[in-house]
Symmetry: D2
Subunit: 447 residues, 4 copies
């Protein structure tokens, strides 16, 4: 694009009327399918030219004016209930279903025939998700679109591809844009992450060939990683991948906001483990090096938790480092959630070792006990435990970037994927929220 691009425009009443007319033509499917789809293409262009207020207005039109007709639904439903347990039930069910089928979806799927139509709809859903927060009337449209995208992005249609430095530049550019966990700073940084001691995998949809849907970055090592900066260091020596025993998934990023609710991430790790085992038979350990994105926020909201993790001997060591007690300004700074606060505190040479054990205990408690609806509040923990991982180890000062310090005092966690335990972990977690963890982590989490 080179920075140039059309300006989004505010809609006029007239332009919205024109769009409403086009929506009706689409919904009725007048003329051949070909001309209908041509209209869809014009409509898509009109949509893309609009600013947010215009887009919201169009989505509201679709949501509110093309839904099912309550009277028809009523009639079909009565017929259905009357037919239950009679031979007519099956026809009646089909007819009720037909009455529920809205013209909203008919409009939307017509976009699929334009070039890049799938991507258009995924992006439209992303708009929808932004608007639906304040506008519940958009919800049925969102649900219908989500259901259709779920059908289209069924994991059976996705392709796992390895991404390398020989991949298309247009695709690699996306990695740079989408990397959500550890920012890719340059093409050199990217090239380093695709070097011979790294692997990068992504899922693709056949109609979005240069758009990774979710991707994972893997480092091949000879031991469990405890420091993400070392992994990202461009100057670090290459490992001999053929000797690696451990694969560390150090970054997993979903890319398409519009696919929220469409699940395929858990298949990714399973498939990647299979692929790595085939290429590197010496690999024994598959684990992540993951952030605890909600730890600091949780500690701020639950100051008593922070207070409890300090034992008497901790206080002694802290006192030796010049910290007076629970009310000391240093400890307060710890909870400030600014990188200065956390950083100053952690860089004090005597303070750091004294804080290590209490804060790791806090992190363990957070992962094991801070829950909502029987599942951990931490989104990353929820993802990995839901995929059958166990909490293996907490790592002190493992991410000293601003983000790492402000969200978790630099603490990171290794989730371990043990092929022999994945399925049982996953069922136990799904059924009752039981969390698998190493003995050390369990001990740290005890009061």
């Amino acid at each position: 694009m080179n920075g140039r691009g059309e300006q989004a425009t505010e809609p006029t009443a007239r332009s919205l009327e024109r769009i409403r007319a086009q929506l009706h033509e689409c919904a009725e499917g007048r003329g051949g399918e070909i001309s209908t789809r041509q209209r869809a293409a014009r409509l898509a262009e009109a949509y893309l030219r609009l600013d947010d207020s215009g887009r919201k207005a169009v989505l509201r039109m679709i949501a509110l004016e093309f839904g099912p007709d309550p009277a028809q639904v009523q009639a079909a439903h009565s017929a259905y209930q009357a037919a239950v347990n009679t031979p007519a039930q099956w026809d009646a069910e089909a007819q009720l279903r037909a009455a529920m089928r809205s013209r909203r979806l008919r409009i939307l799927t017509q976009f699929n025939a334009i070039p890049q139509g799938v991507k258009f709809l995924v992006d439209l859903r992303a708009d929808l998700l932004r608007f639906v927060v304040d506008d519940p009337q958009l919800k049925p449209l969102d649900r219908e679109l989500e259901a259709r995208l779920s059908a289209w992005f069924d994991v059976g249609f996705l392709e796992l591809q390895r991404i390398t430095w020989a991949s298309p530049a247009a695709l690699l550019e996306r990695l740079v844009q989408y990397e959500a966990v550890h920012e890719i700073r340059s093409w050199d940084d990217l090239k380093n992450r695709l070097d011979s001691d790294r692997r990068c995998y992504a899922f693709f949809h056949p109609r979005m060939p240069l758009e990774p849907l979710i991707f994972v970055q893997v480092a091949l090592l000879e031991e469990l990683a405890d420091d993400v900066q070392r992994l990202l260091d461009i100057e670090a020596p290459l490992t001999d991948a053929s000797k690696a025993t451990t694969a560390i998934f150090y970054s997993i990023s979903a890319t398409q906001a519009g696919l929220r609710g469409v699940s395929f991430g858990n298949f990714l790790l399973k498939r990647v483990v299979d692929d790595l085992q085939r290429d590197f038979p010496r690999l024994k350990t598959f684990a992540t090096l993951s952030p605890l994105p909600g730890l600091m926020r949780w500690a701020q909201r639950n100051p008593q938790e922070l207070a409890q993790v300090f034992s008497a001997s901790d206080w002694k060591r802290l006192a030796a480092a010049g910290v007076d007690g629970p009310e000391s300004p240093q400890l307060a700074a710890l909870l400030e959630g600014t990188s200065e606060g956390a950083g100053t505190c952690l860089s004090a040479p005597q303070l750091t070792p004294a804080l290590r054990e209490p804060l790791l205990r806090l992190a363990a408690r957070y992962l094991m006990h801070a829950s909502r609806d029987d599942k951990p509040v931490d989104a990353v923990a929820r993802f990995h435990l839901g995929n059958g991982a166990r909490i293996e180890r907490l790592n002190w000062l493992a991410d000293t970037s601003t983000r790492g310090l402000t969200q978790s005092w630099g603490i990171m966690v290794n989730y371990l994927y043990d092929p022999d335990r994945i399925e049982s972990n996953l069922e136990a977690f799904a059924a009752g929220g039981r969390i698998d963890a190493s003995t050390t982590v369990k001990r740290q989490a005890k009061r």
Copy 2:
């Protein structure tokens, strides 16, 4: 397969019970998605080993035991109707939709993760279509599966590919199996149909790469074809394709019985015309050479039509050829619908010219006037007119194969695709069943 293959087995009560248990596991999605899909794979294998009685029993289980719960639908519907025109309507609609969502589809879509899962479901639908004829209770399952397949086989996902002699043998083997119009007799016959004066195109789904969904065979000529035998003749000289002015679509075959109701055929011809125009700028005429599969059957059911097309002068010429009148055995033989009947009659040197005009008139009337629900009864006519073609010309003795003689006395028709008229034809036909035809054909169709 080399002829060897497992024997289909009759189900035992015990094996059906085991399958029922597996279906419940699938429907509940217990355990991780991975193990659920593994169960689906075992289930698919069990299904494929069953004979028809067993398959039907399994499909009935899915249809009858995993449908929506009428009581839940009832409750959700009441809430929905109560919420109409209130802010709660939109949530209520989503919930009614959720109540309608059956576990049938949940079971079926899990098959999509097995290798060749899409093909498995398409073939399962083909089973379903055979069974539903006698078993209307399968209808809601059929409709749900059709809707899902329609989503998956949306034309936006299909790929147009040219098929050549350099295409995979496994793919070409399918053409031989699926060619529905003019049987491919050998690999030499096939190679001839892929020669430099021919084109063959097909639509493919990204997950069924060696399975053409629908394919069309095209001959590049210097004039409108009137004889399909000449087109199929292996010994005929090659045309210089670069001089061709006319593209004849002489065979269109849909291959997947399980995709009935999922429309993509009309996009095929449009896309093929585009592709041909780019490769051969001298092409001006795009037409078919098509059978009239229902002509004979229609004439048998409507003997008065046959009677009416003979004018007084026709009778004179027939009398000269030794045919006594409407009741003569020769004319009766014409309607017998056997190749001997038709063939004997048409091969009589004096009779043939005398029959030509009356039978062409009969064919014209059949195409123009024999209709059901405002559309022609002839399936091929319905397809092409529905795509915007016009009836250009009727050809006498254009297909003298057994099939050609017995279904239409060897008469074939050219449907013409005039890029400038396609859209208007298509709309007029869709709206009121108006048929575009050449002056000659219109005249022939007049009483």
Copy 3:
């Protein structure tokens, strides 16, 4: 091709003159390279239209009229010899080389720019090889072309590809044409040979993508094969390839007559063994099931060898079967070299077991002792022993086809490729013609 093709034409004196003029234009490279190559294309077409007499005339023109100039060679050689051991030697060598560089090759390489130019030159060399037998003046041209083709078909440029039923039909068609060992009778036969318990590999040149240069057919078995009919049987049950311990190379065919003298066959087996070991880690044994194409002919020329292999006890058993002695008509028939002779004899129920041991001894002697220039006279033995194989086992009635019976009384041989012995075998064979063989075969070969 469909049977139609232009007739080859006899050249006229005038057409040959025109070609001579074109050759001169090519040799001088007048005009741009582009127009020179266009002339080459016209020349190639003219050549292809000629019959053998015409082609030979053209090749003679190139060979005799565009060679190096003896006087220039003389001068450059004198300068070179004068410069030996002086600083001028190196320039002088380059200039002598330049004087030797003939315009023949300049003409030929211009063909490489036409589409399919490489194939054209390979086929032209095949013509040349046919003509050179009777016309030694063509020899320098042949040698120059062979040297150039050796450079172009360097094994570093070749690609090993697995051939499957999903390979292009145009490629598979070549297998049918080129299979030299066991004729492929139909597309079904071919499909059987590409089934899941088979492998087929070929070398390709990047500029002849649908032309396999040499291909090998492999059967995956659980034991050493001793019967080629069983391998070729379309009705035989499929083996489970994942359980195979033995890979049998049962057919190796070079396809391009024009590449005689350009060696790449020995790389093929090495590469295929590597590929198979990776895909099927349980494979332990790599062996051929090979014909003895020259056995019968050798026995006919050396009747005393046949006489010697019968021991006294053999004669006793033969007498019991009604064979009077060395001069009996049955034994004479054995040497007739007709399938009737061999067949009748071998099908006699009592005779067959009595002939088994003596004829296997004869075959062993033939392989181990019948040699020319220190190498076996048998071309197949020369190929495999030269690649490092050992003679593992002789198999009685292993090929009962007409060809098998008439060339070796149906006897076939397993050459074993033992990865641990290949290199040492190969060096010993290359250095002194030492043949590696199993104890049994060695014993059979003893007098």
Copy 4:
């Protein structure tokens, strides 16, 4: 590589002896070809570890110790001359050729079987070209390798590929490294040069798939370009390529130093013109915007030329701009060949217009008349005129980069490729050095 890489090492006497032994093994081809090539691989690694002194020593070994044997050549040559005009001539020629065949090439071609072997040899030739300048004894080795590379890089084996932003990053990285004319400053700059109003094409060898051999960058415009800065401006608006009438080749870079003397560049432009004409039928003009790399240097060596191009009226205008006459410091600065000199002078507001005409005349004279061996001294002119172009227009201040100012006062030239004149231009230039030029340029070049 990320900056890390092994240090090149100086050779020890012992390591050179080991290499000498390996060279002899390679040359003799002892053992199987496979083991010979394995030795070649070890040799290649040893070579790559050496510093320049070591590499030169190895290349000298190959050049001096593995050449033809003068005595054998002597004998073969005598036999050949004796056989001239006898039937034995043809065998004798082949034998002389065999005697000339050196073991040098045998050693080198063995490298071709290692992965990346072709690239290894191309790079080895680049070393050789550096060393041969001071060491003529390497010349025969260089010539033999050049001849072999010419065979391998025959234009018939090369593939023209379009390079886009969807090309592999590893390939695009090469463009950045190799761009010789207008430096690519960043990935954004590169992306801009691959945008929709640009085209980039390269030739590739099948065994060096990510290594462009020569590439050309094209801008699609609506008029003849006269300013290269505008072409390279990332911020410039996109042109609508479908309306373009003019294709400007604004950068052509050969990438492989080791392929000097192997010609394929002239095929590139011809093939690119064909490709562009097919994609953009409205294109009428194909031209370059090229530098005059030798203009300044030539003017410095021929000051009288500079003096002559100023007419009396030029002097008047210059005097008005404060320039005293031919000896003025401003004019002297012009010839300094520093960007300050040229730049200061050209940026003087009154001076610039006064210099324009005289300097364009100088450039015209340089292109049309400054010649060596009947061909222009300017390498770029030699390339394009040798390909059939004509000198269409000289452009003032068309390249104001440092390089542009210091080599030609910013003057650039449009060479025009007129499809109708290419062949005749090319022949006339090849035969007698005749240069095609527009009337304007011819007038400018007149004294």
